[in-house]
């Protein structure tokens, strides 16, 4: 595997983990613009737990403990944040991320604005394995009764309440587990690049992650996977294309096309790339083809 491809694969895997972290709350209709806050928490916590001048714990244990820590923070802030709705929730989660970033930059023992080196290295295999595990977990999560509750809340909260769904609990769980996944993503980031710096986890990252989820689609667990893959791979393809055409201008302006594409998506497919109907059609097509193949084999 060439270095370039490997670097792109790492970015893709991290994007996928982040996307699922934000997908879980989004599946019940909550817009979380605080991904960067959770990622920062996860990255610094696991790095510090692992560092020799920190606690010196093994990497795996540090990652698990940092997930639990970030989950606890997520649970604590979910109680006030989930009282807000829509754009106010976007603002509240954004504020949370800014607060985390501010604290990280001003902590001497975390390296302050200079960032913090992380000791143990997570090779590409671990990053890929974690990303796959997160994807499988989220598919499972959405197939449970709780997943059904989240989707029903997304469609119509008042009616879900009418049939006895505990809307508040479901939302808190989704937000908290999402926070844990973002923390996991941050921890993996830190251990792969062996360096964390709060400024890398800025609001632009949070916006991108939310975009992956919203443009990929929140109705099925395929959405964030498709969204993250699309938005990390597509700009690179645009760039390679522009380079092969020998045009610097095109290479530099690929984000213009990217932006136009996002606007186009909002117009033609506001519910995201992958919808429930589309998933069913694909499943129907595949099973139909299998049936035809079986019939031909007889």
């Amino acid at each position: 595997m060439s270095g370039y491809i490997e670097a792109q694969l790492i970015i893709l895997c991290l994007s996928v983990i982040y996307a699922y972290a934000i997908f879980l709350p989004a599946a019940s209709g909550q817009l979380n613009l605080g991904a960067a806050g959770f990622i920062t928490l996860g990255a610094y916590t696991s790095g510090w737990l692992n560092a020799s001048d920190g606690l010196g714990l093994p990497m795996a244990l540090g990652i698990v403990l940092s997930m639990l820590f970030v989950g606890a923070i997520g649970f604590a802030i979910s109680l006030p944040i989930l009282r807000t709705r829509g754009v106010y929730m976007v603002l509240a989660t954004f504020a949370f991320a800014e607060v985390v970033s501010g604290i990280a930059i001003n902590m001497e023992f975390l390296g302050g604005a200079a960032g913090m080196p992380v000791d143990a290295h997570a090779p590409v295999e671990i990053v890929v394995a974690v990303a796959i595990a997160v994807v499988l977990f989220c598919f499972y999560f959405m197939s449970t009764r709780l997943g059904l509750a989240l989707r029903s809340i997304h469609d119509d909260e008042s009616v879900a309440l009418l049939f006895g769904v505990n809307v508040r609990t479901a939302r808190v769980v989704a937000f908290t587990v999402g926070g844990m996944l973002a923390g996991l993503g941050g921890a993996i980031y830190g251990h792969h690049y062996n360096y964390v710096e709060a400024q890398t986890f800025n609001v632009l990252l949070s916006i991108y992650i939310l975009l992956y989820v919203l443009l990929g689609g929140t109705q099925t667990a395929w959405g964030p996977l498709v969204g993250a893959a699309f938005f990390t791979v597509l700009p690179e393809i645009f760039r390679q294309l522009a380079i092969s055409m020998g045009s610097d201008w095109l290479a530099d302006s690929r984000f213009i096309f990217f932006g136009m594409f996002i606007v186009l998506m909002m117009v033609v497919r506001p519910e995201g790339v992958v919808t429930r109907t589309m998933q069913d059609r694909c499943a129907g097509y595949l099973s139909g083809r299998r049936a035809r193949a079986a019939a031909a084999g007889e």
Partner: protein, 239 residues
């Protein structure tokens, strides 16, 4: 007496939406609640279901449920088919039915099969998102979903809204069928004629207060019914 609500009051800030209304309903009865837009019909239903804060004493099936939260009332058999159908559009037809049975965890298969037998259209699309259903099918799904909650009393909030005349007739046939099978029904309607032809008794709300009540037959020939729909006397004086 299955449902006995005494002196129910609902207030939204300074707006007194339901004014000391008392309604009752017997086992196996169909009762209709009529009134113009904004007369307080939906607020009364919400008070009975426990989704708005209300004063008054409500007893259901012999138990005082006044202080109960909505999910507990659903479990006890007080189930609502909300206005405008409000099915879960991105959930499949089958998942919508499961949502109706949310408060139960026993075997649902015989009941879902019974629904599919009653509505072959739903059976065909059971694994499709509910958004593909037509308006009439969505209403059937909303009612089926409520049935899965095993209601003793089903409250329907303007079920005929937005349906074609043929579908409205089918809907009222279904309501009568369900009632014949023993289900008590409270029907909130703007379609006065159909509602009074279906129900045994009726209440008429005007500006939040019950201004008329009695047997459906008597109400349909009462001139005061029309008056209630044209608005309260105070309203007309101000015109």
């Amino acid at each position: 007496m299955l449902l006995d609500a005494r002196e129910v009051n609902v207030r939204y800030g300074r707006n007194h939406a339901v004014k000391t209304a008392s309604v009752s309903l017997d086992h196996g009865e169909i009762v209709t609640v009529l009134g113009a837009n904004g007369a307080g019909k939906s607020s009364l239903l919400k008070a009975l279901l426990g989704t708005v804060r209300a004063e008054g004493r409500i007893s259901f099936d012999g138990t005082d449920i006044s202080g109960w939260a909505a999910p507990r009332r659903v479990k006890a058999g007080l189930v609502m088919v909300p206005e405008g159908r409000q099915i879960f559009v991105s959930l499949t037809v089958h998942e919508n039915l499961l949502m109706g049975a949310w408060c139960r965890n026993d075997d649902l298969e015989t009941e879902t099969e019974a629904v599919y037998e009653r509505f072959p259209n739903l059976a065909e699309r059971r694994h499709m998102p509910a958004s593909v259903l037509s308006g009439g099918e969505q209403q059937m799904l909303a009612i089926s979903r409520a049935l899965l909650a095993r209601p003793k009393l089903m409250m329907l909030d303007e079920p005929s809204l937005g349906l074609s005349p043929i579908l409205v007739r089918q809907l009222f046939d279904l309501i009568r069928d369900l009632n014949r099978e023993g289900l008590a029904i409270m029907l909130v309607e703007q379609n006065t004629r159909m509602a009074l032809a279906t129900a045994e008794r009726g209440y008429v709300l005007e500006l939040g207060a019950i201004v008329l009540k009695g047997r459906a037959k008597d109400l349909s020939s009462d001139s005061r019914l029309e008056e209630a729909y044209l608005g309260g006397k105070s309203d007309r004086a101000s015109l």
